[in-house]
């Protein structure tokens, strides 16, 4: 079945950690800490300290048994049986049972969790045996363990009496290694060791998490010794950390990428040759180098990241070719060049990415105007405005850049952004060939079969270029070298329960 996205350096070892001490973690200010509704990485990272998933982060970055000790599908994968860990207690002292799992899944189904939607319906979990949770799915799904793992970040198990809509700080009653002591949405929160934790008790006594508005300040905090660990940092601003001997970088390969969408239905980019031409102007290696200090891999205008096990590397890589791009442009009727506005959001390195695209495309005859907007206006005006609603996202701009966070499988990207009628289909790409190939991909089982299906998708997307994908970039986190045993996922969940100070 599917492989997870994260891997490699997501964890540190070396040195024997001692017991005790308080770790100071720098995290960005969370938007929400409602486990069911949260959408932001900082929120994920906080909630994951107290609440646990059925499947958690393994040492290799893959999922590993968490609150479930093991899981087993039936033959067609439509029913999954999870053996729950025994002896686990909620922090208020009550026992963890399958009723908690069932209640959590019901809440998620009600809220329309993006991963579980169409997979599991309300009441789909059978909790008749307190030690076993049986998931009756709406259809076969080989990926279910991922969908109830930390990679579907809204799925931590909350107690059966958990009230929908409340936040971690309202009801901080988890099963995790950390107990929330204090929480202030503006400044930060503190956790102390859960003495009754079912697993190995954390070495550290406590965790102090400070919230930041500005990611850059987090780096300063590390440099100034006011933080021991940083949940995420950008590669360029954090350049100093990358070469700092007193700092350990946690570099997690991720499928995080930025899509340059081009409207396929109307306008200047309706002709695939124009889209190909623009994609041909990308200096992909240069971009990865400049924007991410080399911490990423180049993309080939499709959304299957190279480290997915089913990645088909036989599809030829598109490389920078200004001459070729110019010719394609002429052929498409833009012999005198093409003028367009590139919509970008002021988020992370996107403005810089846009500037690189703008500059790189000039030689081929693209005259791109940059329009950069803050996050709160960009989404909802340039990208997928609520109106017109049919087809979804048909009000999007002609050309723009949008960010896609890490997913353990490419399904969401393929479904929402590229399928006909997809809710986030800002390029209004509509290809029956693609839709069919996507169906094939979803129903294929086993890496070989998946690789074939993925190869098809790659070829179609690389040909049609509804979105330009120049790179996938790594998730960077890190901590002071005085620490060891810190583990992080590409979704902002930093686990320090096995961590400790070495000196």
């Amino acid at each position: 079945s599917d492989e997870p996205g994260g891997q490699t350096d997501g964890q540190t070892g070396g040195g024997t950690p001692r017991k005790g001490g308080t770790i100071k973690v720098a995290n960005q200010k969370p938007v929400s800490t409602d486990p069911v509704a949260m959408q932001d990485l900082p929120g994920y990272g906080i909630v994951a300290q107290c609440f646990e998933f059925l499947a958690t982060l393994g040492p290799d970055g893959d999922i590993a048994p968490g609150l479930a000790e093991s899981w087993e599908p039936n033959d067609d994968g439509s029913v999954w049986t999870f053996q729950l860990r025994q002896g686990v207690k909620w922090q208020d002292g009550s026992d963890f049972t399958s009723a908690d799992v069932a209640a959590t899944m019901d809440r998620l189904a009600e809220a329309g969790n993006s991963g579980l939607q169409g997979v599991l319906e309300k009441g789909g979990v059978d909790a008749s045996d307190p030690a076993v949770a049986v998931f009756n799915l709406t259809g076969p799904n080989g990926n279910l363990p991922y969908l109830v793992s930390l990679y579907n970040a809204q799925t931590p198990i909350t107690p059966v009496d958990y009230e929908t809509g409340t936040t971690l700080q309202d009801s901080p009653n988890g099963t995790g290694p950390w107990i929330l002591d204090q929480f202030d949405a503006n400044t930060g929160c503190t956790f102390s060791r859960n003495p009754d934790y079912w697993g190995e008790a954390p070495l550290l006594d406590a965790q102090e998490m400070t919230f930041f508005d500005d990611p850059g300040t987090m780096i300063t905090a590390i440099q100034g010794g006011q933080a021991d660990a940083i949940v995420q940092f950008p590669a360029i601003a954090g350049a100093a950390l990358l070469n700092d001997p007193n700092f350990t970088v946690l570099d997690v390969q991720a499928a995080t990428h930025q899509q340059v969408w081009m409207r396929c239905d109307t306008g200047q980019f309706a002709d695939p040759r124009v889209r190909q031409a623009l994609a041909m102007t990308f200096d992909r290696e240069g971009m990865v180098q400049t924007l991410f200090n080399g911490r990423g891999v180049i993309g080939n205008d499709h959304v299957i990241a190279p480290f997915f096990p089913y990645f088909d590397d036989s599809v030829p890589q598109r490389t920078k070719d200004d001459e070729g791009a110019r010719q394609l442009l002429s052929a498409a009727g833009f012999a005198d060049g093409l003028k367009a506005t590139l919509q970008a959001v002021k988020f992370q390195e996107i403005p810089d990415f846009a500037a690189l695209i703008q500059a790189g495309a000039r030689a081929a005859g693209f005259e791109l105007e940059l329009a950069v907007e803050p996050v709160d206006t960009f989404y909802g005006t340039q990208w997928c405005p609520p109106k017109p609603a049919d087809p979804p996202c048909s009000g999007a701009a002609e050309l723009g850049i949008v960010n896609y966070g890490h997913r353990p499988t490419p399904d969401v990207y393929l479904n929402a952004a590229l399928s006909t009628g997809g809710v986030w289909n800002s390029s209004q790409y509509s290809s029956s060939e693609f839709d069919a190939a996507f169906k094939g991909f979803q129903s294929s089982i086993g890496v070989e079969e998946q690789t074939v299906a993925a190869g098809q998708l790659e070829t179609i997307l690389n040909e049609d270029v509804p979105v330009g994908v120049a790179y996938f970039y790594n998730y960077l986190a890190g901590h002071s070298s005085k620490l060891t045993g810190v583990q992080v996922s590409a979704l902002g969940q930093m686990y320090v329960d096995k961590a400790g100070f070495t000196e």
């Binding site: 850059g216 440099q223 350049a239 400049t290 940059l370």
Partner: protein, 302 residues
Amino acid sequence: MSIESVDPVIVGGPAPAPPVFDARGEKRIARRERLRLLVRRPGFIVGSVILLFWIVCAVGGDNITPLDPINDFDVSNQRPNADHLFGTDQLGRDVFSRVMAGARDVLIAAPIAAVLSVAMGSMLGVIMGYYRGWVDEVLSRIIEALLSIPVVLVALLIISVLGASAIIVIGTVAVLFTPIVARTVRAATLAEAQLDYVTAARLRGESGLFVMTREILPNISGTITVEFTVRVGYAVFTISTLSFLGAGIQPPSPDWGLTISDTYRLIQAGFWWPTLFPALAIASLVIATNLVADSIDTVRSA
């Protein structure tokens, strides 16, 4: 022999003026004299030269920068060197060229915002100072209330809703500066409206509009000029701050405030040059307008 003696003409300010007994009494002499005084002040010269330099940069834009400030990429993060006087930024663009080209947006926006605020503020101020009474009282309260609104905050709010277009940035800054200008102009008008020539005008039946625009306004033009120069300086500052906070001028403009906000974190990585030079540029522009304003003020009140 009652009045056959006609007093000789004295040119120049009241007390400490040189004895110029110029029978021709050109009306432009006074202005020329002030100009001469201005030109003699080192502060004015330094300020004007800096200002002029930035104006040239703003007008010339990327036509006069050594390299294309937006589209020319070299190796990123180079220290200042012979090829790149101020080094290169995180994308490998020439910082020197960007600093030069960065003058444009702010030099368009700041003076326009200043002009608008001075125009609106003067209008309000003159009305308040001339009519006094309840008109003044009411407007004063409104101005006081406006002044108590946090400037940057409201700017951010407006911009976050209406989007960060140049027009909105300019308009916002102009509106925010208006009450401050109004207060200064009101004070000047108040003093001016006490003078007897205003009474004389009313005695021949001039309208309020005439008195305000033709009689009073020319006499407070000095105050207004100074206010304008000062406001330009503050507008540069405010617009840069807005850009820094992401609500002002938008990328890929090489605008200084924006550049600083894009690059200031790189200082920690040891790349101080993409931040330092735009910061110095802002400072030099603000200082220059201040020097010019100070000089005009001193010469005017001398």
